[in-house]
Each structure stands twice: as C-alpha cells, then as structure tokens.
Symmetry: C3
Subunit: 191 residues, 3 copies
C-alpha cells in the first residue's frame, strides 16, 4: 500500500481566513484510490517552510508520495515550484506537463500552473494547484500512473492490474490523426 503525505500550501487557509477544501479532498481521493495517507499538513506560502517540510517527509518519514496543493500560480506569494525544485534530486517533467496539457482541454487556465514533479531519495513529490477542481482533475490524470512510478523509484517490479505498464491494451487508444505519421521514415535524413 502506497504511503502518502498531503501538504496544503496556502496563506489564507493557514491564517484561518479560508477553509482548506483541497487538502481534505486530496486525502479522501487518495484513500479511495487505495493509498494510505499517513500525514497531512497545512503551511503558509513560505519557501523555506515548504522546502523543509518536503525534505523531512522524504528523508525522515520515508513516504512514497507527497502531493502538495496550492502556491503554483503566478501571484507574488506563489513559490511552491521553486521551493520544491530546491529539494528534488531528479525532475519528472512529464508529470507536470501532463497536468497542464490534460488540464488545458478542461480549462485553458490550467497552463497557468507552474507546478513541477520530481524525486528525492525514494519519494515522489508532485505539485497540484490549489483549487479542489484542479486536485480532482489532477488525480484523475496522474492516478493510474502513480503505483508504477512509485514502484520504479523504489527499484521494485511495477504492480499488475489495469494500470500495469504491460500489456497496455485497456489504456492505449491510438489517436486517429497522427501529424507526421504519414511521412515514411525512410530517407528523411538523406540530404
């Protein structure tokens, strides 16, 4: 069972000016997905505090997966991506890209998220935006991939089941229009 930590990053929720809806929703969705949420945190948009907490969760608590919500936008106090980048050792750019391009087809404003994802030690850290909607849609996009990534990070064999990498029949649906697919590869590098 995947050990997860949930981190809400929000000045207003931290000061009690707004109820934190995204953290509890994230916890609920992770539990429904079969993960164990062993710890949840609510901290302000302070880069040092964010970096310190992520480091502790990865190094001391050894959780498999940390998901943050909030602080990914362009506002002056939004520093979650920078605080996360400071502590990850190997970036996983494809997860942040997927969140944005999948999200864009639901709401164009998804591309405003500056969130990143990466690995520290044996822990995967992912930034989600602060809105409950972004949390739900982000988990829908990433959820089926997480068990495989966590297993690979720990050098374990990825799990079987509908989300296992092989065979991918249930997952793969070929896109009809393939841009450059029409051009045969033969000769394209001949000059």
């Amino acid at each position: 069972m995947i050990q997860t930590a949930v981190v809400t990053i929000s000045d207003r929720s931290f000061r009690g000016e707004r109820q934190d809806g995204s953290g509890p929703l994230l916890r609920q969705l992770l539990v429904e997905a079969g993960a164990q949420v062993i710890t949840a945190h609510l901290i302000p948009d302070e880069a040092d505090q964010i970096s310190a907490l992520l480091t502790r969760l990865a190094d001391d608590d050894s959780v498999d997966l940390v998901i943050t919500t909030g602080g990914t936008g362009p506002a002056p106090r939004d520093v979650t991506p920078e605080a996360t980048r400071a502590v990850i050792e190997r970036e996983m750019p494809g997860l942040a890209e997927l969140l944005r391009w999948d999200g864009y087809h639901r709401t164009p404003f998804a591309v405003l998220s500056r969130g990143i994802a990466g690995i520290r030690g044996r822990t995967l850290i992912i930034n989600l935006p602060g809105s409950p909607r972004a949390v739900r849609e982000g988990l829908e996009a990433l959820g089926p991939l997480l068990a495989t990534i966590v297993a690979l990070i720990k050098d374990e064999t990825p799990p079987d089941g509908p989300c296992a990498p092989q065979p991918q029949r249930r997952l793969v649906r070929r896109k009809p229009a393939k841009k450059l697919r029409g051009i045969p590869l033969e000769g394209v590098l001949q000059r």
Copy 2:
C-alpha cells in the same frame, strides 16, 4: 489597460539587411487586443543586450508584459531563451509548452522553438519565435489568458469578461477521448 513592450531580436533586422515584420505585427495585434504598447525595441542576437533590456523594461519601466520575437531557434546565434532565463525569477513553463503543442498542430516545426516564459518582479516576459506567422498564432493561443496572468502577477483580481477564469463555459470544450479517464480512480493505488 495592460502596459506592454515589444522586443524584436534579430541580427539581420538590426543590421538593416531584412525588414522587421514581426515587431510591427506584434505591436498591431497587441493594440487590437486592447493593450497599450508603450515601447518597442530592435536589438541584435546578443545575450548581454537582451538580458539588460529585459531587466530595464521590468525594473525601471515597470511594464506589465514584455513579448520578444526572434532568437528562439537552434541556430548558433539564437540565444533569446538563455538571455531570458538569466533574468526571470519564476518560470511559467505552461505558456511555452502551450505555444509549442498548440503550434505543433499547425506546423510541426513549432516544437523547434526553445522559447521560455517567466516572471520578473511584476512583469511577465514571453519569448515568441521570429516569424510573423508564429507571432500571430502565438498571440492567438496566449491572448485570452494574458489579462488574467498579468492581474495575478500584480496580486489583483482577474478581470471579468469572456476571458475571466470563472465561469469558463465559453472557453471549456471537453475533449471526447480521455486517455485514462475510463479507469475509475478507486483502488488504483492499492497493491
């Protein structure tokens, strides 16, 4: 009204060997979009000059938005992305990604652009490629998002209207084929 600056980056246009078509087009499109273009520049592909100009526009002139055109490709003299990265404080990777993936569906060569986007102080800086076509298509993709981003960067409430983040009815069009959407989230993290 959004205060903008236009920066054409091109050795050949700077030396007068080619007329700068993209700068004037960019200025015209921004004005049509309702922005105020308070300054326009034409400089060669020199990283130091690019960095210095972007810094001045953000720090002294306090423009809301700087859009550059040119110098984003793979040619030896194309250094706009590096010169921009040197002066931004917080990257907005989703804007550059959107330009490439949206552009790719019009012309595959859009992915050759190495352009980036980011924030310095209260100023948004965006790299567009040098061709007039890329300028027009880039603004078509980013235009409806810019007023919201600029407002958020300045810690202001985003504007109402068809481009406001809420409600997004006019903007959102759900994609029919959702790759992993078919898989219920329940249990995917159970192992």
Copy 3:
C-alpha cells in the same frame, strides 16, 4: 548525409545480462532514414561515463546527432537526463515534450520518461527511453524534423523535400477543435 552516433545506456546490457535490442534497432532505423551511423556505444548507467562520452562525441568526433536509449525513467540508476543536462549548452525542450505528449497517446507511460534534448557545439543530443518500442515511436515522431534541426544548428540552409519547413502543406493538418480559437483577439487585453 547526417553523421550520427548511437549510445545505449543500460547496466544490464553492459554486464551482458540482457541483449541490447534498442541500440541495433536505433542504428537500423537511422540508416533506413538515410543517416550515416558512424559509431555505436554501450555503456552502464554511470553519470560520469555518460557525460564524458557525449562530450567526446560532440567535441572530438563532431557528429551531427547523438541519440541515446535508456536510463530515462524514475528508477534509482536512471541518470541519463542529468548526465545529458550537464553537457548541453542550449536545451531544446520541445523535442522532449513532443516525445512525451505524442507517446502518451500511444501509451500513457511515455510521460514517465525524464529524457531531455539539447545542443552542444554543433551537435544535437536526444535522450530516448530504453525500450525498442519507445525507440521506434520516438524516431517516428522526431524523424521528419531532424534534418532541419541539424541544418539550423550548423547555420546551414535547411534541406528541401517533404520535410522542409516551407511550404508545410504536406505536414500541416489543422486540428478541428481549437480551444481558445473561437474568441476574437480584439479587446482581450482591454480592462
């Protein structure tokens, strides 16, 4: 004719525990595409060795294009992206993005690749994942663009033919559903 080098990065293949299928496939596909493969290498997942080899291929051997296969995933020994980033001078993020988003529509696990692409001197370096399938699909996506990129990096005129940037009639197929395209640009920046 484009001068290429193929680099397989795999502990298991290096130790002889698994046959290297991707390297020979990559070589075959490049030759079919009309490139000249002047050298092929098989090295373990050691960052220093990867960086040293890429540097030598770019600086001494002056190949136009180096394609690596393997070491791009989230496993602890996967360090190809970091070793590549250490030696490139100018990143080409759009190539890695294209591999992931095009790949995602074939298999969602394509987004797990952490591969990057970039330029060192006059040499283009691209990371592909380790599986033969990823090698084949990656070349299908990137192949038609490579001759143009290599020419631009060398400050040469891109080649004519079906893959030339102009005219792009055979390549361009406009996507029907354009998210924000419906909104006229006029006035979107007026507040």
